[in-house]
């Protein structure tokens, strides 16, 4: 339960960090908050030869809202993002999802960009990035590139970050004025990884009809899975009840193929996906209606 030996660097700038990453080769690893990486080191499930500790890169500790995006730098802690009132107003899903990420003490140290790069299929922020169609910016000595969420997640714990690259920021599109969002999950104990979770986004048109309904799922596939459920939402306007979204829940269930594990059977996970889809879409719809009336 102790990490094996590794080399260690603590750069003071992004330029220095990517120089080090370029020089250490494929067995190096970036250390940000370490709330997922250090357990893996302690249990020796991971044994990188060199860690590049980016915690002193204060230039990446920012949270900004500009050009229709909430952008979070690589050393901004979950707690910083959760408490940022400007980010929460621009994209309420960030706060809704972050309040479900582990426990407050873990959020004090863990970073939002780090959890996205870690690409855990049970991670809330990966689903948020996928649902919103966000992106991750990567820097290396050969330049920068921006990867969209649908291309970023390659498999369980595998994201499109090359060994010589540093993820410097993640961007989340702001919530449109006629849209609402919600996050619903079920976990065995408060703060645990979700057995199943759903992030939902609903947009309504000027007649109050559901114009678009999407949901992203955690813990049911190897990567955050996004479904467009608009076709299951009929042309009914007005003050809709939660039952209106039951058809969307059934559509989601028919498209998901979760796996069994020690925490839940596949059929229980599918059941949860249906119930949580209905619940999250309804909450997102209510928020969209409230915003449209403001």
């Amino acid at each position: 339960m102790k990490p094996s030996s590794f080399g260690y660097s603590r750069p003071e700038s992004v330029a220095e960090a990517i120089q080090i990453l370029a020089s250490i080769g494929p067995d190096g690893k970036v250390l940000a908050g370490g709330q997922s990486l250090v357990p893996l080191l302690n249990m020796r499930l991971a044994a990188p030869t060199h860690l590049v500790d980016i915690n002193r890169l204060s230039e990446l500790a920012f949270i900004s809202v500009a050009d229709g995006q909430v952008t979070v730098g690589a050393t901004a802690r979950h707690t910083d993002v959760l408490r940022d009132p400007v980010a929460a107003a621009a994209q309420p899903l960030l706060r809704k999802a972050l309040s479900l990420v582990a426990h407050p003490v873990i959020r004090n140290r863990g970073t939002t960009v780090g959890s996205i790069v870690h690409a855990d299929p049970s991670g809330e922020m990966t689903a948020v990035l996928a649902l919103l169609g966000g992106s991750v910016r990567l820097a290396s000595t050969s330049g920068q590139r921006c990867v969209t969420a649908n291309e970023f997640f390659l498999g369980p714990l595998e994201s499109d970050v090359r060994p010589d690259e540093l993820a410097t920021e993640a961007s989340f599109p702001v919530l449109p004025p006629s849209a609402g969002c919600a996050f619903a999950e079920v976990s065995r104990r408060h703060g645990d990884y979700a057995v199943c979770g759903v992030a939902a986004l609903v947009e309504i048109d000027e007649d109050g009809l559901v114009a678009r309904a999407r949901a992203a799922y955690l813990s049911v596939a190897g990567t955050p899975l996004m479904l467009d459920l608009t076709e299951a939402c009929g042309d009914v306007g007005g003050d809709l009840e939660q039952a209106y979204f039951a058809e969307a829940g059934r559509l989601a269930m028919s498209q998901l193929r979760p796996a069994d594990d020690i925490h839940a059977t596949a059929s229980y996970r599918r059941h949860l996906a249906g119930v949580l889809t209905e619940r999250a879409l309804y909450e997102a719809y209510q928020q969209a209606r409230g915003r449209a009336h403001d």
Partner: protein
């Protein structure tokens, strides 16, 4: 301390622990929890699960509650750290949170207690007057196998009262 026949490179790290400056030479892989307990002999910080689940090793790093088993000592260079030993006044007077645990029977075996005390101390600085639900949320990341938590929730609310009386 060798691994695969290679000696670990040592790093000089400066830590201010409970107001006292320490300089230690540690390998990069030394967890902050192990540095506090083994190098500095501050054994009040307890190590339970060593992967961030139990909360027993929680300390304050620059005032922020942090799992010391999930932080490398080298990452904490120049940080100000408060352990459970640092919560008590120099004359031995218990802090409000410690007094509340004594008053409310918030502990039995005491193994998890250092992590609860540090976590609650930091949380009450942010939320001075927590509701019952907020008190439960504050301690949601700490495991206790003895008390059943009810008396710890009471202790959070009592500690908030004691803090208000002091201020």
């Amino acid at each position: 301390m060798t691994d695969a026949g290679l000696a670990d490179v040592l790093f000089d790290v400066r830590l201010v622990v409970n107001g006292i400056v320490h300089t230690v030479a540690v390998p990069a892989r030394r967890l902050l929890s192990d540095c506090l307990r083994h190098d500095l002999r501050l054994t009040g910080t307890h190590v339970g699960c060593e992967h961030g689940v139990c909360g027993a090793c929680t300390v304050l790093v620059d005032g922020v509650a942090t799992r010391s088993c999930l932080m490398l000592t080298v990452s904490a260079d120049n940080a100000e750290i408060t352990t459970v030993e640092g919560l008590t006044e120099p004359d031995g007077t218990l802090s409000p949170v410690q007094q509340a645990f004594a008053d409310c029977h918030g502990l039995q075996c005491g193994f998890c207690t250092p992590g609860f005390l540090t976590t609650i101390t930091a949380a009450l600085a942010d939320i001075p007057d927590p509701t019952h639900d907020e008190a439960r949320e504050i301690i949601g990341g700490n495991l206790c196998r003895c008390t059943g938590y009810q008396n710890i929730v009471k202790a959070v609310l009592r500690a908030a009262e004691l803090r208000r009386q002091l201020s």
